[in-house]
Symmetry: C4
Subunit: 369 residues, 4 copies
């Protein structure tokens, strides 16, 4: 345990004995300080969308394929030309120093050990270079919260490119912070500096509220930004925060090389649909032009299966991995990824699907429970 | 605190630190006497429609517009030729002296400060002139509970017109009082005089039950009444209590200059649909012939957004404002309006809508949770 | 209080101060012995259908008719050529001596005082003649549980006709007793004789379980029985226990002069639909050839309204009236009927319907909550 | 009570006084050791499918046939050329020694006494010959978990054929064990040997986890296996674990002589549909080419009726019978079967269906509660 600006950061480094990802929240709550836990776990307004993200998985059912004559299913997949051991990736999530002293460096290490794809957040506690190094060469994406100051954006993109990231995730659903009551109740200010902000005039993020941080960010994000970033970096730009077929096509028209279906884990626009409920329609519109990433509410192997079968190429998770980080550092993150991937493999075998490609072609049944 | 006929009236005058509008009910319950609180908060029969008013907002979801390239959304709007800073208006609600010693005078002041539209009730605790003066020239409507005595109606309309109101809301869903069990349990009698009733033979409303008050009101209200009031006042007449496309067209045919979709906050006809569930069909039938006002169940910025996107031009709230009045007088009312409008602005930005006109054109997704 | 075979029978004779019909169950439970209360209140199997009977009313909503220009709605109606002050009738329910020492005699008096229609059960605690006399000439029906012994049926029909009943209700959904767990748990035996059974060889019903009583009844009931009873009595025969359009037409073809849509208050076939959910389809098939009676789950004025608007001509209730009987004898029954009719009148006025005929033509909206 | 490898096995031999099958779980929990009870009662992942199996019965309702003129319904039926006193059969369930010292021998006796069909599991605690003898000549099926070692399969099939079984149930939905958390929490290892495994190199199953047992089983099962078993045994092969019309036809094409619709009681693929929700579509596709067996969630006579009316020819139950075994041995099992069959008879009479053939033609109404 280290004290940083009065905030207790765990230094756990151990594998986790995981029963399921759901139980991690309670365990993590016991060791993450209240303000940090509220920031990580909370959603916006009355958290209706946050809850809907979970129940939505009950709207489509897996139809097992009997007599499929398969065994030893493999979760290997290739997306954006990147070979991965699992379709489960790390969602870009901010300020992981709230959960663990090593923050994103450990997360990157854990994700790499599990064979997954890491996504860094602009608001990381650790620097782009350090986080990249944590992954020991494993593939990473860099997520950009656009600043009003384009030179700041360029600086981040330069650093990300230098660190070897394979794609840029442009988050477009957070041009203002969602109304998160937990942060208000806790009067939460970031106690841990955000490494990417330290060298810029707007400060390092420490001691600021979420609203302040976002205020420095760009509120206006349009198609020109997608093009500009793509041209500047010559990297695939994935637009994150898409919830409709129209937006997906609009983004691709603007140069998006990937579509990231997400409602930010219910942290931004409350009152929008559960992400899973719009995934299929978005994926059908995308129609394999570019890869589709999905997140929001994933906790079970069956959730991952359903998302893949509804059109996702990669399925991201955020909170469970952060809880794993808090409870076990890099090894904790690896445990979370491995556990979820193991659940996925069981579901794949029981569903009669040997490969991720098989999963993507698996039929689902729409019965609303 | 003042004691009026044995009833404790608050005199709070302070801004409120509001987390959300839902929490106001509990706080107000602690300071409003039981009978008054029961009258304000209760619905009719087993309050099924009251509860449905809230859950109905889960039937339609906001589809955010990504890459919308907007910032600083504005809630300015113009309805009935009136420029407003917010589409959120004050629903006409009776007997606000139950919540606060200054009653409607303070409510008018608070609504005006927030840039909204005030609606006075026939059964106000304060007089039309006083309430109008409370608003310091800000726009107001006058709501009419028609009396069996037409001369009484004329007198009220004369006074309202003299006070400069910009429209008459004719309530047609309360020709008899709903079966409100809270009032029966509390054996509730109005302890505070109703100013508009004091100069007439039927008394001032003090010491009467709701049923007695309504008994003096007209039970028969038909299209001729709409025409008569419109002709008498030469003001726009808005028919309040419409729940079907047929009624909307019927009312417009009778001369209505506005349609007010409402089930009276679940206080009248229990067993009818949630107001939000019928709003879209009514608005489509109205088809912009006249403005549409909506109320019943609004508590969140996302509710306001969904109502506007479903066809409302103005979205009214009643109970939360009354709770704000109890807790903070004029400043409390202003806090409630400002808070809800701030939530709306966040939703507008996240949904990618810069103006109220944009919101009205925003698509919603019908997924029933 | 009188002790009959060790069973405590109330002798209450007083009007009731009723808030709503739902609260009567708890009050009655406090004064009716456990076995009797279990028999009256219970349903079959896991009581799924019993509960569905209540929730089904949430599947259709009342659409108020604004500007309807009506007042003083009247619940007067004429069905089967009988003039009634209310469309609410007494469902035939057995063994009312379990609730009150005077049993059906008091029920008949209370229903008559409220201007409703009384239906006697074959398994009444009091005799046909006594119950008829209790109603002081008010209209009554006689409900027949067919015996295997036709002479017994003839005897009952003779007595009913002599007593002046205006119709025969032939119950066809109870050819064996539903699996009622409360009776099994309580090891319930009828402690009170059933008057109509006393003069016959199979005994008086006292000390028998429900299964024994039903065992003496006919299990086979077919269309010939309808014709035979109609011809024997020259009275309208109403077939009770119809839940499908096909059955309704089949029964009418067999000579039924009325169709009684009911699932026996969830006491017989568990796993069947809520009665209200099938009412409209049955009524449409009947298409005014004969009157339609409805029961199962009615507790609110809005329920009565919805049933009438879905095609019922009469709406029956059972348990609430029995609870009223227990709590207040004849006056208690009258209070229950009057209260429910008062709720109905409020709903009628608020819905803009002046007559029962208007209610029958009122539109409902199908929104499933 | 006997202690076997430290595990307490009941030796109860008595008939049960059953209120309903649901209550058996609680009673059995009190006498079955924790690990065994967790294994028997548990489902996979978060047990969503396990719960859906129960609620699905609320999606279709029984429409009673009034005036059906029937009595004394009979549950006699003939399936696969086998005459049975009831359409309720014993689902093949493993390791019944966990519930009772006599295990499957007693179950076979109880099922035989009730006139039902017994299905032995490959993972039975008692041997094929002993279980067959327990049934005293009553019809039995043998369920095969295919081993990777074909000679082992042949040995089992030889023994089953020698024991006179009338069909082979090939389970295809368990090529890997579902993720059952109860077993993990209890660190459950089989304390009781599995008789069919004792003579083979892979050991007797004692002291192994479920995962170990399944690991010895074949993961690859395809159409050739169906043909091979059918040819080897010259017995009807029933494919168990079918959940879609496509799979049913595929299996029949591969030589299946029966289709067994099941999701393994929610113990295998979580996130798939409730079995009852897919039964009708599967049965329609099968279209009487071969018999259809159904299980998963059956607890009530109305459930059995609904399954038959949705296309099942036989309806199996597992857990309730095991609980009956624990509580009363062979007599306990008989009590469970008899009770459920009695509930079915009541439903048949009330629904107006005299024979199982009538039930199969009974209409259901699709109202989703």
């Amino acid at each position: 345990m280290v004290l940083t600006n009065g905030y207790e950061q765990n230094e756990n480094e151990n594998p986790l004995d995981i029963l399921n990802l759901t139980e991690l929240e309670g365990k993590a709550k016991a060791i993450i300080p209240t303000g940090g836990f509220g920031y990580i776990s909370g959603g916006s307004e009355d958290e209706w969308t946050l809850r809907a993200n979970r129940t939505a998985f009950q709207h489509r059912q897996i139809v097992p394929k009997a007599l499929s004559n398969i065994e030893n299913p493999s979760t290997d997949t290739t997306v954006f030309g990147i070979d991965l051991k699992t379709p489960i990736m790390m969602a870009p999530t901010a300020a992981q120093g709230l959960a663990h002293a090593k923050g994103e460096v450990d997360t990157a290490a854990g994700v790499a050990a599990a064979g997954g794809l890491m996504a860094q957040s602009t608001y990381s506690s650790t620097s782009i270079a350090d986080t990249a190094a944590g992954g020991h060469g494993a593939p990473q994406f860099f997520q950009l919260y656009m600043s009003k100051d384009w030179s700041f954006n360029e600086s981040l993109l330069d650093e990300a490119k230098k660190a070897g990231v394979k794609g840029i995730i442009l988050t477009v659903d957070a041009t203002v912070d969602g109304y998160r009551e937990a942060d208000i109740i806790n009067n939460f200010q970031f106690p841990i500096p955000m490494a990417n902000l330290t060298k810029f005039s707007e400060g390092d993020g420490k001691g600021k509220g979420i609203a302040d941080i976002y205020a420095a960010a760009a509120q206006k994000i349009g198609p020109d930004d997608v093009r500009r970033i793509a041209e500047y970096t010559d990297l695939p730009v994935i637009v994150k925060g898409v919830e409709s077929p129209e937006d997906a096509l609009y983004a691709i028209g603007a140069g998006a090389a990937g579509i990231y279906v997400s409602n930010h884990g219910g942290r931004q626009l409350n009152g929008g649909p559960a992400s899973f409920d719009v995934l299929e329609s978005v994926a059908k519109a995308v129609n394999h032009r570019v890869p589709v990433i999905f997140d929001s509410g994933v906790r079970r192997g069956s959730d991952v299966f359903k998302a893949l079968a509804s059109g996702a190429d990669l399925v991201a998770m955020g909170r469970p991995a952060i809880y794993g980080l808090a409870l076990g550092g890099a090894q904790g993150v690896e445990s979370v990824f491995t556990h979820l991937n193991d659940e996925l493999k069981i579901i794949m075998q029981l569903a009669g699907t040997k490969t991720i490609a098989d999963v993507k072609h698996a039929p689902l049944l729409d019965i609303k429970y």
